[in-house]
Symmetry: C2
């Protein structure tokens, strides 16, 4: 099989690495193969090779690059930059800069992955700041793309405008939205509300209207994340992080309260058993593993952060985000768009 693209995978990142990583690759093997993607696996051969024997489909598409060093969960980016240049995470990121890979996926330490990626991989021409991006479930069985989730605590109008552009291209590939509706997060949906730089970002969208591939929906509020009426919501990294953590916390709290209600009596258990297929469908809809993978957009290479505590199903999802983005040539689309817009 000819493989046109390569994804560098940090085999040692994540609570259950490398087993979870290799099994995740196994679960996404069909998708990876279909998209003509090869895998470079960075990590400890002694641990990886036995796993590859267990999962031959992964062995068939992977090349192992051995290193015995890895980034630890409590490492600071500055320490890794000084002393960690032979860790699996560093080498995987470096392979993108060297042109050996188009993307990198890691379930390791978020701060280090972001810090090293920003340092090692340059920005895409024209893009001012990277954005951490993910999508969450919304009504009408849709997904909403949210960015930035914390790469930039403060933003200006150019950042927000560029997030709308990158987020919309992302929604096309990842959520299959032919022409996404994109909005700016604000407090109040009427024009002129909230912070001034958001109004300036809004004006920037209007001034570039004919060169954009999305429909601008104006300002959105926090609850619009779930309504399925907009496909992309752009915001600064502080508010985006607050929104994401709040929605994750709310979902966990509500579903755990439902679980307690079910477990509180035998008669409730009986009722739940009777409606089990529907309860499972409900649970499946909000399964965080189906949305696992935060993508750093705007760098000269795709970087995907998987949740550190996820399992093989979640990791497979993160890898598939990377495979979909590289095989759709996401970064070329961003580069083209950046040349056309006026700031």
């Amino acid at each position: 099989m000819q493989r046109k693209y390569t994804i560098a995978v940090d085999a040692m990142g994540g609570d259950a690495a490398p087993g979870m990583v290799i099994e995740g690759l196994h679960k996404s093997a069909a998708f990876i193969n279909k998209n003509g993607v090869a895998i470079r696996l960075y990590g400890d051969e002694a641990q990886i090779n036995p796993l590859l024997q267990k999962f031959p489909a992964v062995a068939a598409m992977s090349e192992v690059v051995h290193t015995s060093e890895k980034v630890m969960p409590d490492d600071k980016p500055s320490n890794v930059i000084r002393r960690g240049r032979t860790t699996s995470m560093w080498l995987a990121i470096e392979s993108v800069r060297n042109g050996q890979a188009d993307a990198v996926v890691s379930a390791g330490n978020t701060g280090c992955l972001l810090g090293i990626s920003k340092l090692v991989i340059s920005m895409l021409p024209g893009v001012k700041r990277p954005a951490i991006t993910t999508c969450v479930p919304s009504k009408k069985n849709k997904r909403t793309v949210l960015l930035d989730l914390g790469a930039n605590s403060e933003c200006n109008e150019v950042n927000i405008f560029q997030f709308l552009i990158m987020g919309s291209l992302y929604a096309k590939i990842i959520c299959g939205q032919a022409r996404p509706k994109a909005a700016i997060l604000n407090i109040g949906s009427e024009a002129g509300k909230g912070l001034d730089y958001l109004t300036r970002a809004s004006d920037m969208v209007s001034a570039n209207k004919e060169n954009l591939d999305f429909d601008y929906a104006g300002f959105a509020e926090g609850d619009d994340i779930f309504k399925g009426e907009v496909d992309v919501i752009a915001t600064d990294g502080f508010s985006g992080n607050v929104a994401l953590k709040t929605l994750e916390g709310a979902a966990k709290f509500i579903t755990s309260s439902l679980k307690s209600a079910i477990k509180s009596s035998w008669i409730a258990r009986l009722g739940a058993a009777i409606m089990l297929p529907q309860l499972l469908k409900f649970r499946n809809k909000f399964d965080p593993r189906k949305y696992n993978g935060a993508v750093f957009l705007g760098l000269n290479g795709i970087v995907v952060k998987s949740h550190g505590g996820t399992d093989a199903v979640g990791f497979a999802n993160a890898v598939q985000y990377a495979a979909a983005l590289v095989s759709a040539d996401f970064n070329s689309s961003v580069r083209d768009k950046m040349e056309k817009i006026k700031l």
Copy 2:
């Protein structure tokens, strides 16, 4: 009965006013009486009087101040300031400034209520900015106080520090927390993370430690709203508004998905019917009416905004917040605290 405090109620604000308002007062009559509170009802006598005949307990504690004008849902504060000084909302707010009432409750237009309150009622001595405050359910059957929810799109360290003080005094009265744990919302919980002014706010707390009635818990993240480990979370009005709208949207989306799952087949309905008592308990826990009422803290008088679409149960809750705060002399506590702290 001797009534020591007075609450001015805008009888004409809210989708179902004045019926919902008078019935809400009826539902909170025992609480109002117990706290020695009298009601001044601002609105149209022709509509209010027949309702008072229906609810004699409300008639017994209320004085009606007639006006035929009211603030409309789409009114702008500037219009009301120019032409709406005989509306029920304006007059109710003005009664606080005139010393005829200690608090005002309205389910009318939020922007107008906030704008007019800021204009008409002065700030409490020492308080720099008002904060919109509410509480939401959390684990361990507790509540978390959140502020600011949108009065100030941007804040500085003094604002955040004062929000912690006011929010903690609020948690004592409204949530019965003897010594609340209070935190600052940030992205990342380690010291030094996130925005600089939040670190300065944190330092300000430490410098005033011996004069504070709360335990400082450092930085919190969005999901800490629900964990029941901190009782108060202070943030700027932009992030606070995003967090509140996001959690409301997430709760609505998840519970409506559960409802659809239950309604999707007769067998699911059967299962749900069997576990109905537990499902009702679950629903009751997240009933937004139990948390209805956003309080503007920091003004020289308590202002409570009820949701415009709520019913009598929700409105009763908002009125009880006002009654609890005035009868516990909330504003004197804030004033005392402000004299003791160093900024």
